[in-house]
């Protein structure tokens, strides 16, 4: 099982993800440079947080044209696991690998705080180690994490069960007060229809050790580590 962590100019969470993968989880790790044109045999590709290419024009707008993104698109088409965290989620939306877009937080503030997330899918390679409707405690750190999709897309996401994480209160109730950024339907993370491309604004890599205040994020890394080898990549 080998994780690949993509590094764009301006990525800032690559080493955090790498630390969890090789020091906490003990899995094989390689970094993928944005100019790379091969994925070095990775079983799961992570697009980490940060400000790829300075987030100029729009978040993820330039990153989606990086050479490595073409290979990631092909990998996703073959069923490979692709996991976008924060800026990575924004890049996946810009690239069209996930529907919708992430816009400026309703508060206009950069929000850096702990959130609660209710897990709505546990049948995915990313979440199999979570309990049904388990509430995860995970931090966010973003200025543009307000999920938007047009009404038809949003209703399709809901009907197909593509919403994986929703901001909720400590007891798991999805209420407006628990929504840190104005995301429609309190959406914190979604998956594509096939179930192999996940995007989420919260940072699981920053809550994978007790020293950092929680280990809920590690459940997602463990899920991927257990399942990635069973995912068929033709």
């Amino acid at each position: 099982m080998k994780f690949g962590v993509v590094v764009f100019p301006g990525t800032w969470s690559d080493r955090d993800c790498g630390w969890v993968i090789d020091q906490v989880l003990g899995a094989e790790l390689t970094y993928l440079w944005h100019k790379d044109t091969d994925l070095k045999g990775c079983d799961c590709v992570i697009l980490p947080g940060g400000f790829a290419y300075g987030d100029y024009l729009r978040t993820g707008a330039i990153a989606r044209f990086a050479p490595v993104m073409e290979k990631i698109g092909e990998f996703a088409d073959r069923g490979g696991l692709v996991w976008g965290i924060c800026n990575g989620f924004q890049v996946l939306c810009e690239a069209g690998l996930l529907p919708g877009a992430l816009i400026r937080n309703a508060s206009l503030e950069f929000r850096c705080e702990w959130t609660n997330l209710v897990v709505e899918r546990t049948d995915l390679p990313f979440t199999s180690k979570c309990g049904e409707r388990e509430v995860l405690h995970a931090p966010i750190a973003h200025g543009e994490g307000s999920y938007f999709a047009d009404p038809a897309t949003l209703s399709r996401l809901e009907q197909r069960g593509q919403v994986v994480f929703r901001y909720c209160d400590a007891t798991g109730r999805v209420v407006p007060g628990a929504n840190p950024n104005g995301s429609l339907h309190n959406i914190a993370g979604i998956v594509n229809a096939r179930g192999n491309v996940l995007g989420m604004m919260p940072h699981p890599e920053r809550c994978s050790e007790t020293e950092l205040g929680g280990t809920d994020g590690l459940k997602l890394f463990r899920s991927v580590a257990e399942n990635a080898l069973q995912v068929l990549v033709s």
Binding site: L57, R58, A61, F65, C93, E94, P99, G100, A101, I103, R104, N105, A106, S107, L108, S146, F148, A149, D150, P151, G182
Partner: protein, 85 residues
């Protein structure tokens, strides 16, 4: 030489918190007639192109592929000859 002036705006259905905040600021200054504010982007492109028709087609493609995100934004543009501005 042509210059393309591209205006990118958030779609009407997209919440624009910057616009709402600026509207409140204007109201507090006494400009109470302002009923809505939408904030977008102004992009100016210099083009090595002599045909306006060709420039128009190219800029349309640039907007669709990169300058605007069709999920959340609308765009419009004008093409002017450099020196006539």
């Amino acid at each position: 030489m042509m210059i393309a002036i591209v205006i990118v705006t958030p779609k009407p259905v997209v919440n624009d918190p910057q616009g709402v905040t600026v509207k409140q600021g204007l109201a507090s200054l006494g400009f109470s007639e302002v009923s809505d504010v939408r904030i977008g982007k102004y992009i100016e492109l210099k083009l090595e192109e002599s045909s306006e028709h060709a420039a128009r087609e190219r800029v349309e493609a640039m907007c669709r592929q990169l300058l605007a995100n069709h999920v959340i934004e609308d765009f419009r543009f004008d093409i002017v000859r450099d020196g006539r501005r």
